[in-house]
């Protein structure tokens, strides 16, 4: 094949992407070394001061980071279990198979913030249907204003929103599996449970890893849901890293400091996702 043509195919996309991205990334690094804030907007040079402040004097950032880890890991595990169960159920013939497939996909097509606005009214403490129904049992959880329960409200909304994506990836995987192993299992007379443990699950392992990583990447960005649902509150109990950086950078205009946080956050994300990918591959692909 001719060697010159290949660059004409590759370069437009590659250069547009690099062109749009390279400036912001370099700029974030440079900005993180400056004291840019609303009184003093400008790219002066203050060395590593922002990073020293971040690592020694800002527990709120690290708390928000651990909260984010908790929220994203919990939601992704729930999404994986529920998504796998749903995909497995509509994989083989059941009544109205295609109806359920479409229905289970619908939530991921809806705009998270807009649905969150609806969820806010849904979980409203005195005027929402959830507490109205729960009042039969004489309980009225403070879905949005209790520091502990608010976290679970965020998890519920995230699970509703993004389980369909997991479902989609896993169902696509199930549909692409070869038929032979299942025939062999049927001839051996394996029970459904054994069939799942010894045939379906191992065959799905590579797809599972892919799906979990993809979802973890997306879940680590949780921010709009939190912004609309609780605005990080009550107090800071549902604040995630992105949201905290947003407050510092684009509400208080401490651009320099926010840049140092976002660069640190990006590096942590890349490292931890790489580690998780390695660990998952080891756990699920034993043989």
């Amino acid at each position: 094949m001719n060697f010159k043509h290949k660059y004409f195919f590759l370069f437009p996309g590659l250069f547009v992407l690099i062109g749009i991205l390279i400036f912001p990334i370099i700029f974030v690094v440079r900005l993180s070394l400056s004291g840019w804030n609303s009184y003093n907007p400008g790219l002066d040079y203050i060395g590593l001061e922002n990073y020293i402040r971040l690592f020694t004097d800002d527990p709120r950032f690290w708390e928000s980071f651990f909260r984010l880890s908790f929220l994203s890991v919990t939601t992704v595990i729930l999404q994986y279990v529920i998504g796998f169960a749903l995909a497995h159920m509509v994989w083989k013939d059941i009544k109205f198979k295609r109806f359920f497939r479409v229905l289970f996909l619908v939530p991921m097509m809806t705009t998270p913030v807009i649905m969150t606005v609806i969820w806010r009214t849904f979980f409203h403490e005195s005027l929402g249907p959830v507490n109205d129904m729960l009042s039969v049992f004489g309980v009225a959880p403070k879905w949005l204003t209790d520091p502990v329960i608010a976290k679970f409200t965020v998890i519920i909304v995230e699970v509703w929103q993004w389980t369909p994506f997991m479902f989609l990836l896993l169902l696509a995987g199930l549909l692409s599996l070869p038929k032979e192993p299942f025939l062999a299992a049927a001839i051996d007379g394996a029970s459904p449970v054994r069939k799942f443990i010894y045939v379906t699950f191992p065959l799905m392992a590579p797809i599972s890893i892919g799906a979990i990583i993809i979802r973890l990447i997306e879940a680590s960005k949780i921010m709009d849901t939190v912004y609309v649902l609780t605005s990080g509150g009550p107090g800071t109990s549902t604040e995630t890293s992105s949201f905290y950086i947003f407050i510092k950078g684009l509400r208080e205009f401490q651009m320099g400091y926010a840049a140092s946080m976002s660069f640190t956050y990006l590096i942590i994300m890349i490292i931890s996702l790489t580690i998780i990918a390695k660990v998952l591959t080891k756990l699920l692909l034993k043989e």
Partner: protein, 282 residues
């Protein structure tokens, strides 16, 4: 044993269906309520619990001067930005994906897989990391609060998705197709346009659907990079939430914004059942 399994299966499906449908039903009934039936206690069934009216739907098309919320303009802004950014991303992404699938690249230690990974890895980038430089950059070239600025940003969000799906798709299109075309006297561009592309329509549709989904549902960049001149739908609707919270128009506008993508759900399911999505995640 088997009966128990089937019972549990249908039980679970029903519970999940209720969970999925509940917020939509709630929004639908709420959109027909008035002030009294929202604030006077929880009401569910129209005509029984409350007297339905169309006020929530009517204000959507009224201009703000008459006390309406006018979501028509944000609606078209959203459509325009999503479609333009998706189209550009698909064109550029497909070209790059074709190159990565058919030719070998080598620059030092960088090989095809590394370039593919570079494209896809842009999804790892948290939006907040890009938002601060984009905010300052767009304001310095006067593109803050404009549609063009948003489209540029959305290309970064969407092109990785297009490349990701198309590389896998092209890998499944047999190479013999292009080779035959080349032997028949096409140049590489003709081979790509006349032979490979027509065979890749399912992949293009799936990639397009995903770009549209992820463009349409974005809130964050629209929220940070636009203010008053240009408003996208999600930003407009969330802004409704912050003021007096008229639940009825809120619900109506939410339903209107969600509606077009339900069609996308049908298309995605169709291609899913045909097995066209299977390669994308390995």
């Amino acid at each position: 044993m088997n009966k128990l399994y089937i019972f549990l299966k249908y039980f679970f499906i029903v519970v999940w269906t209720v969970f999925v449908v509940a917020p939509f039903l709630w929004a639908l009934t709420t959109s027909f309520k008035d002030f009294q039936s929202v604030n006077g206690g929880v009401t569910y069934i129209p005509w029984v619990d409350f007297e339905p009216n169309l006020e929530g739907w009517k204000v959507l098309i009224k201009s703000p001067a008459k006390g309406g919320v006018d979501i028509v303009e944000p609606y078209f802004n959203s459509l325009f930005v999503t479609c333009t950014a998706s189209l550009i991303s698909i064109i550029l992404g497909t070209l790059s994906a074709y190159a990565l699938s058919r030719y070998t690249f080598k620059a030092g230690f960088v090989k095809n897989n590394d370039i593919t990974f570079f494209f896809i890895s842009q999804r790892i980038m948290p939006p907040i990391v890009l938002s601060i430089p984009f905010f300052l950059f767009l304001s310095s070239i006067n593109l803050l609060d404009s549609l063009t600025g948003l489209i540029v940003v959305y290309i970064v969000l969407l092109m990785p998705i297009a490349v990701w799906i198309m590389v896998d798709f092209f890998n499944k299109v047999p190479r013999e197709i292009d080779e035959t075309a080349l032997i028949d006297g096409c140049n590489p561009y003709q081979a790509f346009l006349k032979v490979v592309l027509p065979n890749s329509i399912p992949g293009l549709i799936v990639a397009g659907m995903f770009c549209i989904i992820f463009g349409w549902i974005d809130f964050f960049f629209a929220f940070i990079l636009t203010f008053t001149e240009v408003q996208l739908l999600p930003v407009k609707i969330v802004a409704l939430n912050s003021s007096v919270t008229p639940w009825w128009s809120l619900s109506a506008s939410a339903l209107v914004s969600v509606a077009p993508l339900i069609i996308v759900a049908f298309i995605v399911e169709r291609y899913l059942s045909k097995g066209n999505l299977s390669g994308a995640i390995k």
